[in-house]
């Protein structure tokens, strides 16, 4: 520790010296969320920038999109954020309201080259707040880009759609190819058995299709997007299009439903389109590079394709959702001039030309877009497709940008959490949207009626309280007991415990007590916290329905998965303890699951449980879905009362059970611990028992089981603790769905902390959980004599 400390001191002094040398390079940190292809191009551009600006060195950080905002928030909270970051329209307002972004106006106006009038109308306005521009827009995309397969249109003998096409809830045969539903109807093909062999439309996500329909038909999600007070998710104008999409999918069969997607194409709906199973694919610009790569004229998969705008509503309404992103500068940046040069370069001509050529981005700068994005005759051959890119220009000009309220990201998750039930045809739109509306409204009401007594929270006091509490704890631990002999090993024991004690005081107890203090505050991690007292706890128990749901889910999961898990691992350990050849290999097999990367295994389990084409349903329903290869079908039908193939992770009744089943996969640790314990059972004791004539079961009950009891106890206790903290699995596999059926306690806590940005409330939730687990464990230790004897806890 000491050495480390000195090293860090020396290093930082060294660093300071280097920094203070004039003419040295300025280092800028740049955070990007792009995936590998976009990242490579931007990295090349950054190299070019460094060449042009030899005084600047750029360090790229690339946490990946899924965790980008979470990392950025933590960095802002600790004051170690990068200089330049990529931000999207949805989230930038959160950062503006936290006062961490620097306004870019003075730089933009100094720069003659940058003419804001060149940008798509509205984009700059979307990215500014109180007349200050905070984000320099980079690229822009509409969610209403429809990719179509020309060959399939030819086969169906219908003309290619024109940009003036429109949609209605009813089919309008007289309009022919100008009517969206007519086109869909003509492109959907059935075989003689009535099964679909070709669908007409696949949206990137059902939600985006419903969104485009709802908005273009004039529906709105809230009374005012900038300062919402009333959520209108359950307005008839929203319910109708959502139900419409579900009907197109399940009744009309124009759209492949979730189950079919996993059957035919194992990955995405785009694959369906690429393999000519679907005629139209609705998505954004981002699919162009992949499609180009897959559909080159030399490959056997080639077909003629192009893009067209999503149809407008019959009355001409065409508010199709769009999104944009760009570069922002952090207020804390030490080198604003240099940072601006970087932003200007990355959102400027050179970079835009490169990314646009790859098909990656439509520049937010319309002048550049018209120059580089819309195909010209002199473009290289591979950059010609899709030819009708001019439609994306129209789409953006009429586009509807994501609402700007800083609370919108969380509000929209209330909607997306409920939707899977609708898309899986397990609930009606009316049902689902009403629930979403209630949850979102509750959240909004709390935001709009903030706590009245807003005493600012003082960090110094908090730190002193922490120190005092730790000292009280130390006194409590060391308080001499009455009527006991002085312990003789005090000195040695505390020397042995010192590394752990240092760790626990600094790295665990300190943060734990701070989180206890924070649980009495309202804190978004960046702005100063406000003191609330016990209000968070009161809220959890009286207002938060999701809290009780999450508690139920976690409790149910624990009650089922822990005892069965321990029982199974005991059985397997007993099996492995039988001396046969190859046990070493089996041991490796059973431990393997604990070593695999969690992301990869979660994805694989999703595949295993696919409705059709997944390994689990192959065992139950056979290759065609109508067989009964292992005789498991009867059991499933008996328990679930349905003879249809089951979507294990997507059905409310089975999702939690499926996650429990998956949890048995990583029992390896428990098995190994049991096995180690079994093998440490002295042979002599067994032999003595055999000589005494004890039977097999007697030997097991009187020798093996008592020998194993501390291990059983250990596995149960740690199992209960771990299963109450399950998070990653549910986060990756189900995101808490469908309909909150797998929203585990810690997942709920995570959502409150990092999506609602209510760190104080999340801390309160954590302490409630801690209280529950602590009580359970304490009862187990105190009340159970069997355990007590093993533990010798006095």
């Amino acid at each position: 520790m000491n050495k480390l400390f000195y090293k860090t001191c020396l290093l930082s002094i060294f660093f300071f010296l280097i920094c203070s040398i004039p003419f040295s390079k300025t280092t800028l940190r740049l955070a990007l969320w792009d995936g590998s292809q976009g990242l490579q191009i931007i990295m090349e551009c950054v190299k070019e920038f460094e060449k042009q600006n030899p005084d600047i060195e750029v360090k790229i950080e690339k946490p990946g999109y899924s965790v980008y905002y979470q990392k950025l928030l933590m960095q802002c909270a600790a004051g170690v954020e990068p200089d330049v970051v990529v931000l999207g329209l949805k989230q930038y307002r959160q950062f503006v309201s936290k006062n961490v972004l620097a306004p870019l106006n003075k730089f933009i106006h100094k720069d003659q080259e940058n003419d804001l009038n060149d940008y798509y109308p509205g984009v700059i306005e979307q990215f500014s707040y109180n007349q200050n521009i905070y984000v320099m827009p980079r690229d822009i995309t509409s969610f209403g880009v429809v990719y179509y397969n020309k060959d399939l249109f030819k086969k169906a003998n219908i003309p290619i759609p024109h940009k003036t096409w429109s949609w209605d809830y009813k089919i309008r045969p007289d309009l022919k190819e100008k009517d969206f539903l007519w086109v869909l109807d003509n492109l959907t093909k059935f075989n003689q058995k009535g099964e679909v062999i070709q669908w007409s439309l696949a949206p990137w996500q059902y939600h985006f299709l419903a969104d485009a329909l709802a908005l273009s038909a004039g529906g709105d999600y809230a009374d005012n997007y900038r300062n919402p007070t009333k959520v209108t998710f359950n307005h008839p104008d929203i319910i109708k299009p959502y139900q419409f999409v579900s009907d197109l999918c399940h009744k009309k069969k124009y759209i492949p439903c979730n189950q079919t997607v996993s059957n035919i194409a194992q990955t995405t709906r785009r694959e369906l389109w690429l393999n000519q199973k679907v005629a139209l694919y609705m998505s954004g610009n981002w699919d162009i590079p992949v499609i180009r790569k897959r559909l080159n004229k030399n490959s056997k998969d080639w077909f003629e394709w192009d893009v067209i705008n999503f149809p407008s509503y019959k009355d001409g309404g065409n508010r199709i959702p769009a999104d944009a992103c760009g570069y922002a500068m952090m207020k804390s940046s030490q080198h604003p001039q240099e940072a601006w040069r970087l932003i200007n370069f990355l959102s400027g001509k050179f970079t835009m030309k490169k990314t646009t050529a790859a098909g990656l981005t439509q520049p937010a700068n319309r002048k550049l877009a018209l120059e580089y994005w819309i195909p010209k005759k002199d473009f290289p051959k591979e950059e010609q497709y899709p030819q009708n890119r001019i439609c994306t220009d129209d789409l953006i000009l009429n586009g509807f940008f994501e609402p700007r309220s800083e609370y919108w990201p969380r509000m929209s998750t209330f909607l997306t959490e409920e939707l899977p039930l609708l898309w899986n045809n397990q609930a009606s739109a009316n049902n689902v949207l009403n629930i979403a509306n209630t949850n979102a409204q509750k959240y909004l009401d709390r935001i709009n009626n903030p706590a009245s007594n807003s005493v600012l929270f003082n960090w110094n006091i908090a730190l002193s309280i922490t120190a005092i509490l730790i000292m009280i704890l130390a006194v409590w631990v060391l308080w001499p007991k009455k009527n006991t002999l002085p312990s003789k090993n005090n000195k040695l024991a505390y020397i042995l415990l010192s590394p752990w004690l240092i760790g626990i005081i600094c790295l665990t107890l300190g943060p734990v007590i701070i989180s206890l203090i924070l649980s009495g505050t309202e804190w978004d991690m960046i702005l100063p916290a406000k003191w609330l007292g016990l209000q968070n706890y009161v809220e959890a128990f009286t207002q938060d329905d999701l809290f009780f749901n999450a508690l139920m889910v976690s409790t149910l999961y624990t009650i089922v998965s822990v005892p069965i898990g321990v029982f199974i691992s005991l059985l397997i350990a007993l099996l492995l303890n039988i001396p046969v050849k190859g046990t070493k290999l089996f041991r490796l097999f059973f431990y393997l699951p604990c070593m695999a990367s969690s992301v990869a295994t979660s994805l694989i389990w999703r595949k295993m449980f696919q409705v059709q084409g997944g390994l689990i349903n192959l065992f139950i329903y056979g290759k065609t879905g109508n067989e009964n290869p292992l005789g498991l079908r009867g059991i499933v039908e008996l328990f679930l009362g349905t003879s249809e193939t089951i979507d294990w992770l997507g059905t409310k009744n089975t999702a939690l059970g499926t996650l429990t089943f998956i949890s048995f996969w990583s029992l390896g640790v428990c098995i190994i611990i049991f096995l180690a314990r079994l093998q440490s059972l002295p042979k002599s004791r067994m032999e003595a028992a055999i000589i005494e004539g004890a039977g097999k079961w007697k030997r097991f009950y009187s020798i093996t089981l008592p020998h194993l009891s501390p291990t059983i106890w250990f596995c149960l206790i740690t199992g209960v603790i771990a299963s109450f903290q399950v998070f990653t699995k549910a986060y990756v596999l189900t995101e808490g769905g469908p309909g909150h059926a797998t929203e585990f306690y810690v997942l709920h806590l995570y959502k409150e902390a990092f999506i609602s940005l209510r760190m104080g409330y999340a801390c309160a939730l954590a302490w409630i959980l801690f209280g529950i687990i602590f009580l359970l464990t304490y009862i187990q230790i105190k009340k159970n004599r069997w355990i007590n004897a093993e533990m010798e806890m006095k």
Partner: protein, 282 residues
């Protein structure tokens, strides 16, 4: 007749054992079958064939692509992960075994209370601790270094201490008492008696620590910024975007990330057996 009967019974018992072991193996290895076959498939194959089908050819195309990807350096990530995991492992085993011995064998003031604190620390969801710890490490100037990943492990972990304590308690006290009479001090007893007898537990703790640090995603994510300091698990996420996953590369990467751990496990397993055989010969 009798001997034949016994012989048949033995064969039956063996085959039954194998039967059940094989059923368990199907459950435990099923997902791996999918992982490995996908790592050999092309995107088209993944899209069109059922997930249980065999790849059309066992070409190493995906593996080559992963290794030649200019945006991630898998070799460097491997080295970083190795440094973090091995230092964490050594530190954790050392500190945990010391603390576990104190809890298992020594009588000292506040023992039960401290043990209660130890148990309690396992019960706090680590997500809420992440932010205060992050701020703390920032003040120590440890952001973008390996220290926040290694130092907490060096202080020992509650789970390891708990596990080791359960093992230490089971070592017959007579050994130590005999050694004590012979005039051995604590250091001697610890090195000559406790450590050798509890090798299986120590190896288990080592293995658990290595696997946990190897697979850790959240901590390297928030503490490491520099692309040259990333770990394997982070590098793997390059193939997961917000629109889709590159299944073939992701699975090839996952196999690469897992291989060193398997090698380590096989190596540790041998040790494990040796350690166990000592306990059995008494």
């Amino acid at each position: 007749m009798n001997s034949k009967w016994i012989h048949a019974k033995r064969i039956l018992k063996k085959s039954l054992t194998y039967f059940f072991l094989c059923i368990a193996t199907i459950f435990f290895l099923g997902p791996y079958y999918i992982m490995i076959t996908i790592s050999f498939k092309s995107p088209q194959e993944i899209a069109l064939n059922p997930s249980w089908s065999l790849p059309e050819s066992f070409s190493l195309q995906n593996y080559m692509e992963v290794f030649s990807d200019p945006s991630v350096n898998f070799i460097l990530c491997f080295w970083n992960t190795l440094v973090i995991a091995s230092l964490s492992m050594i530190g954790n085993v050392f500190s945990s075994s010391l603390a576990a011995y104190a809890f298992a064998r020594l009588e000292f003031r506040g023992k039960n209370k401290l043990f209660l604190i130890l148990l309690s620390t396992m019960m706090i969801p680590s997500i809420v601790l992440s932010l205060p710890s992050f701020v703390l490490f920032k003040h120590l100037g440890w952001i973008n270094t390996f220290y926040p990943l290694i130092v907490p492990q060096m202080c020992g972990s509650a789970f390891s201490i708990f596990l080791l304590r359960q093992f230490f308690r089971n070592i017959p006290k007579e050994y130590e008492e005999a050694a004590m009479i012979d005039g051995a001090n604590f250091v001697n007893i610890f090195i000559k008696i406790i450590l050798p007898t509890s090798k299986p537990a120590l190896v288990t703790v080592a293995l658990l620590t290595i696997v946990a640090t190897w697979k850790d995603f959240f901590n390297p994510l928030i503490y490491l910024n520099d692309p040259n300091k990333q770990t394997l698990e982070i590098a793997l996420r390059t193939y997961q975007y917000f629109h889709y996953e590159q299944w073939n590369l992701l699975m090839a990467g996952a196999v690469i990330v897992m291989l060193p751990l398997i090698v380590f496990f096989i190596f540790a397993q041998n040790y494990f057996l040796k350690g166990l055989s000592i306990t059995n010969h008494k």
